[in-house]
Amino acid sequence: MWKLILKRVLLMIPQLLLMTLLIFAIAKLMPGDPFTGRFSPQLDLSELARLRKEAGLDDPWYVQYFRWIGNALHGHFGDSYVLQKPVVTLMGERLGNTIVLSLFTTVFLYLFGIPMAVASAKNEGKFIDRFWLTFNSITYGVPALVIFLFVLFLFGYTLQWFPTSGSVNIDAEGFVGIWLSKIYHVILPSVTIAALSTVGIFTYLRTGLLDNRNQDFVRTARAKGVPEKQIFWKHNFRNSMLPIAQNFGFQIVAIFSGSIFVEQIFNYPGMGLLYYSSISTRDYAVITALMLFYGFLSLVGAVLSDIILAWVDPRVRIS
């Protein structure tokens, strides 16, 4: 098992290299450079050339690439010229917020999706099953934006149960107070995203539960005299959870990436909001750093999925 994890982590190295090259190439291909924003009629062009030379932008691409990588490894991602702060500082402020939001979303997602699928599979063809099937096809089919805006309008503005922007109240005090305020801010977005995203977990698990009902090993358990309830949880459910568990890593990545869009709507100061604003202001240092972050995150998600699968499935763990 440890060998497998180590091997899988080591396999990340070439993937990371390829990814950084790609991101570097994209950054280079984008029009303009960090000094483009300083253009003004008063600017001396020779002064600009000097700045460029000083920043090393005239060096061959591979020298620039390795300098960039070296800096990144030391935690230097340059400064945001728009906000005039180091990128690391900017990201640090927002990363915590995004993690809180994503974590809550993940918990709610499984908290909704799994019982939904279980209730559906146990009552196949009955009202409850049809209800959740319909629910999931609606949440899957209707554009999320519409629902987000509706939820925001209803619970945020009309009923005023939840805040409509920010990640914490300015007047919150003390460790507990600040955290309670933070949680209060993420509940509406995280519950909404989770409720709208159950379709994958629901469909996989429901189909798995229904299929596994007729598996040979379930029949064996029945022939041993195992009560139906135990058969369901110990044999059927556990085996049906395999694809769900395997998908966990990707799910987290999906939630993190989804935050780019959600934070925008709920005006939640996380990485997503930073990403969005940096693109609209062409804040290159921030964009590349964020691309690197999301790229790294997907690689970690894939590794996580593999490790979880090996952990829950002995056929992968022991071969």
């Binding site: 040979d216 358990a221 029945r222 005299g225």
Partner: protein
């Protein structure tokens, strides 16, 4: 030695399946019994209903999709109208079952030992403090040399033969009086097959258990069984001791099957071909001798209605219908007896 009353007593058992809203008969009025210490082979081709019968004995048919009628008495307990709770108490205790494909029949995520313990934990035949020891002892009993190690392994780590041994250990965990083996060796290699069959036979003799052996393989029947019931299209067509059925087969179906089986005597000859196929469930008219449709020279007899009861042609040797009295293969008619 076969003594005592029946372990399994099935009378007039019919099983119907609901297919597209219609109830179709898969098994029609089957009478069968197994005594303690007896190996009864239920033999037939695919679609004959032999597995359907075994499933009915275990009470494993879904009660919304299948309807079982008649009487199945397992060690004094009526199964046909038993509640799910009663059935749970009987399964594994009164009858243990071995399935065809041991890989898919074992839970891939559970250790071997845990799967055997589970069989004991759902019944109160053995107290909890004995489960671990008994698991090891059971694995030893089925011929596994490193039982402690195997108990900690998962199904995919074992060979096919070992897996089937584990299945057997699980089936006998609560010392059931009846072992139902549904094609227990079909998925195994020849040399492993004979080992598993010998093992089942040994356990059966040691415990004086009854065995209901379901198979399509005539050789397996001849090696294992004390008595044989031949099934065709959901009905028993012949029933008797293994000696009687193999040395003096009566029903046209039994005789045709034996002739279609390649053997030392068939070298250089054509095998007997049974024309046509088993009728679909909807096309089964169980008041007739259904096999006769596949006997080209007995088409007139195929239309005759025959009684449900089997005829006792010889003491203890039963056969369905009357066609057996006149049935002859074409080459026998000419007097070229083989």
């Amino acid at each position: 030695m076969i003594i005592g009353k029946n372990l399994l007593d099935a009378q007039d058992v019919s099983v119907q399946f609901r297919i597209d809203g219609e109830w179709l008969t898969a098994i029609d009025k089957v009478d069968l019994s197994v005594k303690p210490g007896e190996v009864l082979a239920l033999v037939g081709e695919s679609g004959s209903g032999k597995s359907t019968f075994a499933t009915a004995v275990m009470g494993l048919h879904s009660n919304t999709q299948a309807r079982v009628t008649g009487s199945i008495v397992l060690d004094g307990h009526q199964i046909v109208d038993a509640s799910e709770k009663e059935m749970q108490e009987l399964r594994g205790v009164k009858a243990g079952m071995i399935f065809q494909d041991p890989l898919s029949a074992l839970n891939p995520l559970m250790k071997i030992g845990d799967q055997i313990i589970e069989a004991m934990s759902v019944h109160d035949v053995y107290p909890k403090d004995q489960w671990n020891d008994r698991t090891i002892q059971l694995l030893k009993e089925v011929g596994i040399t490193k039982p402690e190690r195997v108990a900690q392994q998962f199904p995919h780590e074992l060979s096919g033969g070992m897996r089937q041994r584990v299945m057997i250990a699980m089936a006998i965990a609560n010392e059931p009086d009846l072992i139902i083996a549904d094609e227990p060796t079909t998925a195994l290699d020849v040399t492993i097959q004979s080992q598993i069959l010998d093992l089942i036979k040994d356990i059966q003799e040691k415990k004086n258990a009854g065995v209901l052996l379901i198979t399509h393989d005539l050789g397996v029947v001849a090696e294992m069984a004390d008595s044989v019931a031949v099934m065709y299209a959901g009905q028993i067509v012949e029933n008797g001791s293994v000696e009687d059925v193999f040395t003096n087969p009566l029903h046209p179906y039994t005789r045709s099957l034996l002739r279609a089986n390649p053997s030392e005597d068939t070298i250089g000859d054509d095998l007997y071909v049974i024309p046509g196929t088993v009728p679909s469930l909807a096309a089964m008219d169980h008041t007739k001798d259904l096999f006769l449709r596949r006997v080209p020279w007995m088409q007139k007899e195929a239309e005759e209605t025959i009684p449900d009861e089997l005829v006792e042609a010889k003491p203890g040797h039963f056969v369905r219908g009357t066609a057996w009295k006149t049935f002859k293969f074409p080459d026998e008619k000419k007097g070229v007896k083989k």
